[in-house]
Amino acid sequence: MTNSIDQHDVRRLLDEESAQLVEVLPHQEYEQEHIAGAINLPLKELTPDSVGVLDRSRPVVVYCHDFL
Protein backbone atom coordinates (compact mmCIF):
# COMPACT_ATOMS: atom_id res chain seq x y z
CA MET A 1 0.00 0.00 0.00
CA THR A 2 1.49 3.36 -1.05
CA ASN A 3 2.40 5.85 1.67
CA SER A 4 0.66 9.15 0.97
CA ILE A 5 2.57 12.05 2.54
CA ASP A 6 2.24 15.81 2.89
CA GLN A 7 4.60 18.71 2.31
CA HIS A 8 6.05 18.51 5.81
CA ASP A 9 6.92 14.83 5.32
CA VAL A 10 8.50 15.57 1.93
CA ARG A 11 10.81 18.15 3.44
CA ARG A 12 11.72 15.85 6.32
CA LEU A 13 12.51 12.95 3.97
CA LEU A 14 14.64 15.23 1.80
CA ASP A 15 16.52 16.75 4.74
CA GLU A 16 16.93 13.71 6.95
CA GLU A 17 16.81 10.65 4.70
CA SER A 18 18.29 11.91 1.40
CA ALA A 19 15.07 11.05 -0.40
CA GLN A 20 14.98 11.13 -4.20
CA LEU A 21 12.29 13.40 -5.62
CA VAL A 22 10.68 12.26 -8.88
CA GLU A 23 8.22 14.21 -11.01
CA VAL A 24 6.14 11.77 -13.05
CA LEU A 25 4.53 14.35 -15.37
CA PRO A 26 5.50 14.60 -19.07
CA HIS A 27 8.84 16.18 -19.99
CA GLN A 28 7.41 19.51 -21.15
CA GLU A 29 5.67 20.13 -17.84
CA TYR A 30 8.80 19.17 -15.95
CA GLU A 31 10.87 21.59 -18.05
CA GLN A 32 8.46 24.45 -17.34
CA GLU A 33 8.68 24.04 -13.60
CA HIS A 34 9.53 21.32 -11.14
CA ILE A 35 10.34 21.09 -7.45
CA ALA A 36 13.99 22.07 -6.98
CA GLY A 37 16.17 18.97 -7.09
CA ALA A 38 13.55 16.67 -8.63
CA ILE A 39 14.35 14.42 -11.56
CA ASN A 40 11.86 13.55 -14.29
CA LEU A 41 10.58 10.03 -14.89
CA PRO A 42 7.26 10.37 -16.70
CA LEU A 43 4.69 7.76 -15.71
CA LYS A 44 4.56 6.40 -19.27
CA GLU A 45 8.32 5.84 -19.19
CA LEU A 46 8.63 4.01 -15.89
CA THR A 47 10.39 0.82 -16.96
CA PRO A 48 12.92 -1.53 -15.35
CA ASP A 49 15.60 0.30 -17.39
CA SER A 50 14.57 3.91 -16.76
CA VAL A 51 14.34 3.46 -12.98
CA GLY A 52 17.98 2.40 -12.99
CA VAL A 53 18.85 6.05 -12.28
CA LEU A 54 17.31 5.69 -8.82
CA ASP A 55 19.19 4.49 -5.75
CA ARG A 56 17.19 1.61 -4.28
CA SER A 57 18.69 2.18 -0.84
CA ARG A 58 17.13 5.68 -0.53
CA PRO A 59 13.46 6.65 -0.20
CA VAL A 60 11.71 7.77 -3.38
CA VAL A 61 9.05 10.51 -3.33
CA VAL A 62 6.88 10.74 -6.45
CA TYR A 63 4.59 13.62 -7.32
CA CYS A 64 2.49 15.06 -10.13
CA HIS A 65 0.22 18.16 -10.22
CA ASP A 66 -2.09 17.56 -7.28
CA PHE A 67 -4.76 15.21 -6.00
CA LEU A 68 -6.64 15.16 -9.31
Binding site: T2, N3, R56, Y63, F67
Partner: protein, 180 residues
Protein backbone atom coordinates in the same frame (compact mmCIF):
# COMPACT_ATOMS: atom_id res chain seq x y z
CA UNK B 1 -0.88 9.94 -11.78
CA UNK B 2 1.50 9.83 -8.81
CA UNK B 3 -0.34 6.99 -6.99
CA UNK B 4 0.04 4.89 -10.14
CA UNK B 5 3.70 5.80 -10.37
CA UNK B 6 4.24 4.83 -6.74
CA UNK B 7 2.52 1.50 -7.34
CA UNK B 8 4.64 0.89 -10.44
CA UNK B 9 7.86 1.60 -8.54
CA UNK B 10 6.81 -0.84 -5.84
CA UNK B 11 6.15 -3.47 -8.51
CA UNK B 12 9.69 -2.82 -9.75
CA UNK B 13 11.06 -3.71 -6.33
CA UNK B 14 11.42 -0.35 -4.59
CA UNK B 15 10.53 -0.64 -0.92
CA UNK B 16 10.49 2.96 0.40
CA UNK B 17 8.14 4.76 -1.97
CA UNK B 18 6.06 7.78 -0.98
CA UNK B 19 3.36 9.66 -2.85
CA UNK B 20 3.34 13.43 -2.34
CA UNK B 21 -0.35 13.51 -3.18
CA UNK B 22 -0.88 17.29 -3.00
CA UNK B 23 1.89 17.59 -5.58
CA UNK B 24 3.56 20.47 -7.40
CA UNK B 25 0.55 22.72 -6.99
CA UNK B 26 0.88 22.50 -3.22
CA UNK B 27 4.64 23.15 -3.38
CA UNK B 28 4.51 26.18 -5.68
CA UNK B 29 1.46 27.50 -3.90
CA UNK B 30 3.52 27.56 -0.73
CA UNK B 31 6.29 29.55 -2.37
CA UNK B 32 8.86 26.75 -2.04
CA UNK B 33 11.90 26.52 -4.39
CA UNK B 34 11.40 25.38 -7.96
CA UNK B 35 13.48 25.13 -11.13
CA UNK B 36 12.59 25.38 -14.80
CA UNK B 37 11.76 27.90 -17.51
CA UNK B 38 8.79 29.27 -15.53
CA UNK B 39 10.52 29.29 -12.16
CA UNK B 40 11.59 32.95 -12.38
CA UNK B 41 8.28 34.33 -13.63
CA UNK B 42 7.07 36.78 -10.98
CA UNK B 43 4.18 35.56 -8.81
CA UNK B 44 1.55 37.19 -6.69
CA UNK B 45 3.15 35.88 -3.54
CA UNK B 46 6.41 37.70 -4.28
CA UNK B 47 4.60 41.04 -3.98
CA UNK B 48 2.16 40.25 -1.19
CA UNK B 49 2.58 42.74 1.66
CA UNK B 50 1.93 42.06 5.31
CA UNK B 51 -1.53 43.27 6.24
CA UNK B 52 -3.56 44.02 9.36
CA UNK B 53 -5.53 41.08 10.68
CA UNK B 54 -8.13 40.45 13.36
CA UNK B 55 -10.22 37.58 14.70
CA UNK B 56 -13.95 37.09 14.26
CA UNK B 57 -14.80 38.18 17.77
CA UNK B 58 -12.63 41.30 17.86
CA UNK B 59 -14.33 44.66 17.66
CA UNK B 60 -14.43 46.74 14.50
CA UNK B 61 -12.77 49.57 16.40
CA UNK B 62 -9.75 47.33 16.96
CA UNK B 63 -9.69 46.30 13.34
CA UNK B 64 -9.99 49.94 12.25
CA UNK B 65 -7.02 50.91 14.40
CA UNK B 66 -4.91 48.07 13.03
CA UNK B 67 -5.89 48.77 9.43
CA UNK B 68 -4.71 52.37 9.81
CA UNK B 69 -4.08 54.15 6.53
CA UNK B 70 -3.91 50.82 4.72
CA UNK B 71 -7.69 50.71 5.01
CA UNK B 72 -7.92 46.91 5.02
CA UNK B 73 -8.09 44.32 7.78
CA UNK B 74 -8.27 40.62 6.95
CA UNK B 75 -10.30 38.45 9.31
CA UNK B 76 -8.56 35.17 10.04
CA UNK B 77 -9.38 32.00 11.94
CA UNK B 78 -7.19 29.31 13.44
CA UNK B 79 -3.89 28.93 11.65
CA UNK B 80 -4.30 32.24 9.86
CA UNK B 81 -6.97 30.90 7.51
CA UNK B 82 -8.75 33.73 5.68
CA UNK B 83 -12.42 34.04 6.64
CA UNK B 84 -13.35 37.56 5.63
CA UNK B 85 -12.24 41.11 4.99
CA UNK B 86 -13.01 44.52 6.48
CA UNK B 87 -12.55 47.58 4.31
CA UNK B 88 -14.28 50.81 3.36
CA UNK B 89 -17.65 51.28 5.06
CA UNK B 90 -17.29 48.09 7.10
CA UNK B 91 -14.40 49.66 8.99
CA UNK B 92 -16.53 52.70 9.77
CA UNK B 93 -19.12 50.65 11.64
CA UNK B 94 -20.16 51.18 15.22
CA UNK B 95 -17.24 50.40 17.51
CA UNK B 96 -19.20 47.69 19.41
CA UNK B 97 -19.78 45.56 16.33
CA UNK B 98 -17.52 42.56 15.90
CA UNK B 99 -15.53 41.71 12.80
CA UNK B 100 -17.85 38.77 12.20
CA UNK B 101 -20.90 41.08 12.22
CA UNK B 102 -19.73 43.31 9.38
CA UNK B 103 -17.06 41.50 7.42
CA UNK B 104 -17.35 40.55 3.77
CA UNK B 105 -17.19 36.79 4.20
CA UNK B 106 -15.29 34.49 1.83
CA UNK B 107 -13.40 37.22 -0.07
CA UNK B 108 -11.84 36.51 -3.43
CA UNK B 109 -8.29 35.33 -2.93
CA UNK B 110 -5.53 34.18 -5.18
CA UNK B 111 -2.80 31.64 -4.69
CA UNK B 112 0.81 32.50 -3.97
CA UNK B 113 1.96 31.05 -7.31
CA UNK B 114 -0.37 33.00 -9.64
CA UNK B 115 1.62 34.43 -12.53
CA UNK B 116 1.59 38.23 -12.41
CA UNK B 117 0.98 39.07 -16.09
CA UNK B 118 -2.29 37.10 -16.29
CA UNK B 119 -3.38 38.27 -12.87
CA UNK B 120 -2.75 41.96 -13.55
CA UNK B 121 -4.77 41.75 -16.74
CA UNK B 122 -7.72 40.23 -14.87
CA UNK B 123 -7.46 42.83 -12.10
CA UNK B 124 -7.37 45.66 -14.64
CA UNK B 125 -10.46 44.32 -16.42
CA UNK B 126 -12.27 43.94 -13.12
CA UNK B 127 -11.16 47.30 -11.73
CA UNK B 128 -9.61 45.52 -8.73
CA UNK B 129 -6.91 47.48 -6.92
CA UNK B 130 -5.71 44.90 -4.44
CA UNK B 131 -6.23 41.25 -3.64
CA UNK B 132 -5.65 38.82 -0.78
CA UNK B 133 -2.98 36.18 -1.41
CA UNK B 134 -3.13 32.79 0.33
CA UNK B 135 -1.35 29.45 0.48
CA UNK B 136 -3.15 26.29 -0.73
CA UNK B 137 -4.42 25.77 2.81
CA UNK B 138 -6.16 29.14 2.77
CA UNK B 139 -3.58 30.60 5.14
CA UNK B 140 -3.02 34.31 4.63
CA UNK B 141 0.20 35.40 2.93
CA UNK B 142 -0.65 39.08 2.53
CA UNK B 143 -2.31 41.59 0.23
CA UNK B 144 -0.97 42.36 -3.23
CA UNK B 145 -1.48 45.82 -4.69
CA UNK B 146 -2.12 45.93 -8.41
CA UNK B 147 0.04 49.04 -8.68
CA UNK B 148 3.07 47.14 -7.33
CA UNK B 149 2.57 44.40 -9.90
CA UNK B 150 2.15 46.87 -12.76
CA UNK B 151 5.31 48.65 -11.69
CA UNK B 152 7.32 45.43 -11.54
CA UNK B 153 6.10 44.25 -14.94
CA UNK B 154 6.83 47.67 -16.48
CA UNK B 155 10.33 47.56 -15.01
CA UNK B 156 10.95 44.08 -16.40
CA UNK B 157 9.62 45.17 -19.75
CA UNK B 158 11.94 48.20 -19.81
CA UNK B 159 14.96 46.16 -18.75
CA UNK B 160 14.23 43.53 -21.36
CA UNK B 161 13.93 46.05 -24.19
CA UNK B 162 16.97 48.03 -23.11
CA UNK B 163 18.96 44.82 -23.09
CA UNK B 164 17.81 43.82 -26.55
CA UNK B 165 17.60 47.26 -28.19
CA UNK B 166 19.38 47.11 -31.52
CA UNK B 167 21.10 43.86 -30.61
CA UNK B 168 18.69 41.29 -31.97
CA UNK B 169 16.02 41.67 -34.68
CA UNK B 170 14.04 38.91 -32.96
CA UNK B 171 14.29 39.45 -29.22
CA UNK B 172 13.95 36.47 -26.89
CA UNK B 173 10.85 35.84 -24.78
CA UNK B 174 9.97 38.75 -22.55
CA UNK B 175 10.77 38.26 -18.89
CA UNK B 176 7.79 38.11 -16.60
CA UNK B 177 5.75 36.33 -19.27
CA UNK B 178 5.74 32.55 -19.28
CA UNK B 179 7.27 31.18 -22.50
CA UNK B 180 4.75 29.60 -24.88
Amino acid sequence: MSPRAACRLESLGFSAVYDYAAGKTDWTGSGLPTEGTHADVPRAGHLARETATCELTERVATARKRAGRGGVCVVTGAGGIVLGILSGKALEHDGDSTAEDVMAAGPTTIRYDEFLPDLVERMQKGGVGSIVVTRPSGQLVGVMQRGDAEELLAELHRAHHEHHAGADPEPADEPGVPPT
